[in-house]
Symmetry: C2
Subunit: 374 residues, 2 copies
Amino acid sequence: MPGQSVGVVHSQRAHFAQPLALRSGGVLPAYDLVYETYGALNAAKSNAILVCHALSGHHHVAGHYADQPGNIGWWDNLIGPGRPLDTDRYFIVGVNNLGGCHGSTGPSTLNPASGKPWGADFPLVAVVDWVHAQARLADLLGIDAWAVVMGGSLGGMQALRWSVTYPERIRNAIVIAAAPKLSAQNIAFNDVARQAILTDPDFHGGHYYEHHTRPTRGLRLARMLGHITYLSDDQMGEKFGRELKNGSFTFDFDVEFEVESYLRYQGDKFAGIFDANTYLLMTKALDYFDPARMDDGDLTATMARSTANFLIASFTTDWRFTPARSKEIVAALLANGRNVSYAEIDLNFGHDSFLMADAHYHGVIDAWLRNITL
Amino acid sequence: MPGQSVGVVHSQRAHFAQPLALRSGGVLPAYDLVYETYGALNAAKSNAILVCHALSGHHHVAGHYADQPGNIGWWDNLIGPGRPLDTDRYFIVGVNNLGGCHGSTGPSTLNPASGKPWGADFPLVAVVDWVHAQARLADLLGIDAWAVVMGGSLGGMQALRWSVTYPERIRNAIVIAAAPKLSAQNIAFNDVARQAILTDPDFHGGHYYEHHTRPTRGLRLARMLGHITYLSDDQMGEKFGRELKNGSFTFDFDVEFEVESYLRYQGDKFAGIFDANTYLLMTKALDYFDPARMDDGDLTATMARSTANFLIASFTTDWRFTPARSKEIVAALLANGRNVSYAEIDLNFGHDSFLMADAHYHGVIDAWLRNITL
């Protein structure tokens, strides 16, 4: 991996006292966002990049904390001096979205009205709500228009929403491994994950904090299922195949196959740290995402609202959001004569490919970014 | 649908007092099998077809019970006078496999040693164990050799296993929507389903019968997940799309999308009637299935043991066991110069296609069967 990490970073917190009207019709009276920045904003304030996170992501996108050298940002491989998101050139912002569980206001933070964690009383949010909240953060940082808004998966959907909601505030968008809306199968997987959490006896209707417990069984199942959809069938085959943990069948329900070991480990790890209410909320935001809904399903009409230049990237082995889904966005942009580049990248990591440090993939982003005007 | 149903049928029970040595190394001291037969065994005893069931199937393959006119066999559309499995020509046998929950000895039947349901003490079984048990049923019925052993999915795997375990007792095999072994992804889905059941607090280590409860939460999740893998992405899209139950988002965790309504209904229905221990056992039998294991993974060597004629059928939209998986079996048979027909059928119902009454699909089976010698 060429270039360097940004090294030691620290997170910041901003309080927003102005109420935020939500897509659901509800109102969030006030909220905090935690965020990180890397690089320096130039005098023209024209070099700012917003990196949006996906389902389980957060504001810690690059670098590490001084007291936690092993806690490296989730897209560190892309960001830093000499990397595609070059911190010598760009001012990069990562933010934990509303409803998250990494410091921003969400189900696990205190509800001022009750003095207890919000829990199930935290309103369900939509991608557009995040975009509005991020716009206020941009105001705070003195950024009138982003040079780039970008992200993978649900992060890419935020970039897409930015382009149609605040076209004057985004000059370029990078949308990776995303879709203009979820398919029935996508929603179905999300609903099984949600039902696992909602029916966990430790869920307590979303107010588990007060019961000093957590619905770890349900969250673990949700994450195990998620991992199957993030990886490609081929990759799972190559990585695990039918390899047995102990060399032979044990004829019980302990781990027999290596793939079981992997999934259970991933499920346990995630269930130990992530907040179940945030998981529910994030999957709902995915389900609700459908910007063309405001134009009666006509994505071309919706993308006509956008004026940004686009880089759309997909991965050949991503069966969650296939290349065909990215091409729907490309077609809608082309129908409007918009400036759009499309890259279908042959990587074997399924949906998770967007997180990988692949030279060709990063080269595509790097080359495209070198052509934008700051 | 041409032809007629077999009409009123009744199930029978056979007791086998001879111990059955299992693949796991365990022994089942004695067991019962419930079964049904349709049509008449000819004098030469050469017209018998064994229909093997899949994960959630049973012995009630065709017709209905006199007192339950709505309880129609799961493959009724294929069986009866004038149907591909013509009861004027064949003697057809359906059997509930060992470990099942429809009358044959299994986790929910009484363990003679304890006087209580077997529960978790029922041994895990492999496909080969079912084949041995079915062979004893054939002995009982006076059938030296089956004209055909057939099935879809896990049922097809039994037909495959029959052909290499008792080559002298099976003249023809029909293997539909199956695979020579599960992929890592297949196993992964099964493991999430199992973990849902095993971690349900009502599972009680598999001895829930004694606690007068059932792990319905886990079983419901397992079935919801299963249904996603049985249907094709396209079919889900066409059937449900993003249709909303109430026309607009409700921003809560009740059913919002039609696909959620469908999945939860299927999950609830199944969880109300099926036994969770049987579900666990069936998924393990699927995972263990890998007949080439006895030949160090060389499927061609394994299929050399078989002398049957084969019809292998797969479905274009089946992403659980894709056509490529069926072709692995075809290739291994061809490499041995065996008589094999292969049909890749364009049906939009995913893995579930094998249960559908499609004229072309049934025509393929019908035409192939007309060419076998009784």
